[in-house]
Structures are given as structure tokens and as C-alpha cells.
Amino acid sequence: MIVFALGQLLPGNVGRAVLGNFATEEAVAAYNHAHGTDRSVVVQYVDWLRGAVQGDLGTSFVSDTPVWDQLGPALVNSLKLALFAFVLVVPFGILGGVFAGLRVGRPTDRAITVVGLSLAVVPELVTGLLFILIFSIWLGWLPVTAQTDPGAGIFTQVEYLALPAMALAIVLFGYIMRITRAGVVEALDADYTRTAYLKGLPHKTVIRRHVLRNALMPTIAVIATQVGYLVGGLVVIEYLFNYRGIGALVLNAAVQKDFSLLTAGVIVVGIVYLLVTLVADILFGLLNPRIRYQVGE
């Protein structure tokens, strides 16, 4: 429900932008008329909605083909890349966070934290470029571009996606590690951890049953939302690696002022993010006994 309510607002913003731009370019007026974009925003919007519900997201201005034809495969591509990066980073990020959290203040923690965060702040474009330089050009291990031809086998795809996925993973690692670490530190300080120790439980059991259980809960929720970010936020990486993902598509649309494609693309990205967040919320609610059992209170 919330997803769709929010979805209502998204095109609103872009719609205004559309109108704003065209107000300064009279020469394109005739063009607009042909495409129906000089009608009022509301009318356009209703029209679009009608089409969208029926599965028709409009026609691309530039290529004059249905928008979905381009968006569909691009979305799939982005999802593939996102998933790959995700699979790479989540285990390491969580492990890193746990280790850092368990050894707070000590060298291991400082090392992991500083390195992780530093890497996270470096723009993916920089990491991506450096990776290309190192792994593709100097070492020649992996291909420069990420786009494989359709029909390529799974292993080829993995090989091609490895570099961009790694670049993404580096950025995410810091973030996930930080959240996990904070959760672990908080759980370690908690009273219930003290109770567990004072019961005489062995260290490992305390960490496993008491600390990690409570520390990882918020982490999982946060991580899930990151997937949403991944799908649309890959613009730079996709551009860098010539990957035909949805980010690159949106970028091209913006460059070519193909607003129909642009709007649709942006909305799709937004919806994916919201859907993922919804799933994350549900997941969090299921895992957290406090929320699960609130009905009975």
C-alpha cells in the first residue's frame, strides 16, 4: 500500500521537471504536441497510470519502441550484478563486523574499521577504474567490460561480472561492517550478556546464543535495504564497464532527453527499492520476537 502511495509521488516530481524543461524550449513545441507531452501534467499522469496498470509503460521517445522492451532486460541485468555483489559482500561484511565488534578498541578492530570505512568512502568509480587497471590491463586476468553476449554460459557471465561486482562489494563492505559492528558492540555491553556469563556459560556459547542473535537482527534489516540501493545505484559502475543495466539505461535516457524512458526507468527503480524495503521490514518483524508478539499485548 505504502509502496504504491509513494509510487504516486515519484512521477509527480519528474513530471514537474518535464514541464519545466519544455517551458524553455519552444522549438520542441511541435514535437511535444505530437507526443502529447504538452498536455497538463495531471492528464499525462493519469494516462500513464492507465497504461502502466495494463502493462504498457509508454513508448520511448528516441527509439520509438515500447519502453518495457528496453527496461525489462536491463532490469534483469542489474539484478544479476546486484545479486553477485551482494553474495560477495554480505558474508565478508558480517564476518568483518563481528570480528571488529568482538575485539573493540583493539588493533584488529581498528584495522578492520579504518580500512573498511576508508574503502567504503572511495567512490566506486575510482575503485572500479583501479580494478580495471590492475586486473584487466596489468594482470590480464579478467575482461574489461562486463557485458556478455546473450546466451553466454553461467561461468562466462561470472567472469565478466567479477570486476564490477568486486568494486561494488568493496563499497558496501564498509557499510555493512559498520552496522554489524555497532550491533555487536551494543549486544556485548548489554545486561543479558552479563547474565549469560554469570550463569557460567562458555564464551563461545554466550557469543553465539546471546550476542550474535541480538546483534544480527538489525543488521539483516539494513542489509536487505542495501539490495534496493544496489539495483539503481549502479549507474557509474554500469557506465564504466559498459554494462547494459538499468542504471546505464536511465543515464542514456537522461542524456538523450528521452523523458518517457527516463520516467519509467526511475519509477521502476524506485518501486524495486520500496519492494525490497517492504520485504526487509517484514523479515525484521518476523525475526524480532518483540514485534511478532505484540498482537497479544
Partner: protein
């Protein structure tokens, strides 16, 4: 249980501050980070005055040379000295990013204060809008807004980044304000007839400054990130500017043959961003004790 009095409370606070500064100055991350930042700020200020060659216009006949004694970082396709360009390239980023961050902080903090303090209808609607906007990843949003605005000037980039970051800042500030506004002294202020603007800005704001400042440093790092990324995909600063990201755009396609034209600007970006992170991390370390 009550906290205990210390007849020397005030001097204790001062010694604590002095101790913290001392710890800060001894922390390696702070020193390294601050040094790097100062270095780049210096080069930004001094600009072409200290570069061996003019970064924009000096086109030597040595085209595409690998690093050598004459040109430490080599030259690019147009014969420009990469070292000079790297040194000069800090300026634009160091102008745009902090400015954008400042704008975002002002706008975002005000929004955050309003939504966090008033709650109710205003909070619900504005927060919904913010959520919607945040559902779209930064770059996509930035790209869209730039496309809509039509212009690609430096000004536009600054404003775009500010607009895109303000909601994030607003969210953080709102969370801090929510927690703070529940405290009794806020109620006490209202009970003596204070009006809302006074309570928000004079009572609550000073107490949420620490998280705001932390957020500011984080935003600054991401602003640099955003400027570089936007420029790279063509939506930001333009050639012949010596800005690092521009260099990346320029030379990206020739990376295979002339790695030096890409590697050094990239490392420069990385160094600035990491340095910022080190400094903010060392702040957190010291103030967390």
C-alpha cells in the same frame, strides 16, 4: 542515582578538553588524514602557481609519455603534464563539494527540525515525500534532476547535490530531534510560553549539534564521491578543467595504453576521501571515550 558533585567541576571539564585535544594530536589517523587534506587544500589555493607546467594550457610536444624525469606523472594525449593537472585538480572538487554540503546541511537541518519537532501532519507528509525521494538512488536522482534543469554548469551540480543530500540530512536530524524533543527541558520551555521557533532553534538545536556535525563530515565525503561520479558520467564539470574526475572521463577510453593518465587522478580522489574519513574517524574515537 544522582551523579556526584565535584567542586572543581569546571576545571575538570577544561582538563578533559585538553586531554582530548592531546589524544587527537597523537592519533596517527588524525595526523595522516589532516596532512593529506591540508595538502590538497593548499594546492587548491595555490593552483597553477606551484605546478611545473600550466595544467590546462601547456601542451608540450611530448604526447602521451610515460612517467619520466621531466614529467613525473607522464603526459596525456594533448601533451599536458599529468602531475600538474593532478595538483590543480583539487580545486573544483574542494569548492563544489563543501559548498554543496553546506547547502544540504542548512536545508536538511531545517527540514529535520521541523519534522522532528512538530510531528503530526507536517511530519507525515514531508517524511513521505522524503522517503519517496530517497527510494531513488542518489545518482539516478541527480541525473534526473540535472536533465530536468537542462544546465550542466558547476552551479547546477552544486545545487543538485545539495538537493539530493538534503533529505538524507533531514532524516538524520529528524531522528536526533525526535529523541531530544521528548526530554523534560523542552516541555519546561513550552510551559513558560516559549513559541515553537524559539524552542526549536534555541533549545533543541544546540543539543543535536554533535550528530549534525558528524553527519556533515560524512556528507562531505559523499559529496566528493558524488561530484566525482557525476562528472565522470558527463553531468558535472566539463573539460578543459583539470578536475580529477574530468581527467578520468577524458582518458578513460585510453586507459589500456596510458594507465598513468587515469591511475593518478583516481588515486588522488581516493586519497582525499580516505583522508577525510580518517579525520572523522579519529574525531569519533576521541570523543567516544
Amino acid at each position: 542515582m544522582s551523579s556526584v558533585a565535584a567542586p572543581t567541576a569546571r576545571s575538570e571539564a577544561r582538563t578533559a578538553r585538553r586531554e582530548r585535544t592531546r589524544l587527537l594530536l597523537r592519533s596517527p589517523s588524525f595526523i595522516i588524514g589532516a596532512a593529506v587534506i591540508l595538502f590538497w587544500v593548499a594546492t587548491a589555493l595555490l593552483g597553477s602557481r606551484i605546478t611545473p607546467y600550466d595544467p590546462v594550457f601547456d601542451q608540450t610536444p611530448d604526447l602521451s609519455q610515460a612517467p619520466s624525469g621531466d614529467h613525473w606523472f607522464g603526459t596525456d594525449r594533448l601533451g599536458r603534464d599529468v602531475f600538474s593537472r593532478v595538483l590543480a585538480g583539487s580545486r573544483d572538487i574542494l569548492i563544489v563539494a563543501p559548498l554543496a554540503t553546506l547547502l544540504a546541511m542548512i536545508f536538511g537541518t531545517t527540514l529535520g527540525l521541523i519534522t522532528g519537532y512538530f510531528r503530526g501532519v507536517a511530519d507525515d507528509t514531508i517524511s513521505r515525500i522524503i522517503d519517496a525521494v530517497l527510494a531513488i538512488p542518489l545518482i539516478v536522482m541527480a541525473v534526473t534532476v540535472v536533465a530536468a534543469l537542462g544546465s550542466r554548469s558547476t552551479w547546477a551540480v552544486t545545487v543538485v547535490i545539495a538537493i539530493v543530500f538534503a533529505p538524507i540530512v533531514a532524516r538524520t536530524v529528524r531522528a536526533a530531534v525526535l529523541g531530544e524533543a521528548q526530554l523534560d527541558y523542552v516541555e519546561a520551555a513550552r510551559l513558560r510560553g516559549e513559541r515553537a521557533p524559539y524552542v526549536m532553534f534555541s533549545e533543541v538545536l544546540p543539543n543535536v549539534m554533535p550528530p549534525i556535525l558528524v553527519e556533515a563530515t560524512i556528507r562531505l565525503g559523499y559529496a566528493i564521491f558524488a561530484v566525482a561520479s557525476l562528472t565522470f558520467i558527463g553531468f558535472g564539470l566539463q573539460p578543459p578543467s583539470a578536475d580529477w574526475a574530468v581527467q578520468l572521463t577524458d582518458n578513460y577510453n585510453f586507459m589500456a595504453e596510458q594507465w598513468w593518465t587515469v591511475a593518478f587522478p583516481a588515486l588522488a580522489i581516493a586519497s582525499l576521501v580516505v583522508a577525510l574519513n580518517l579525520v572523522s574517524d579519529s574525531f569519533q574515537q576521541v570523543f567516544e571515550r
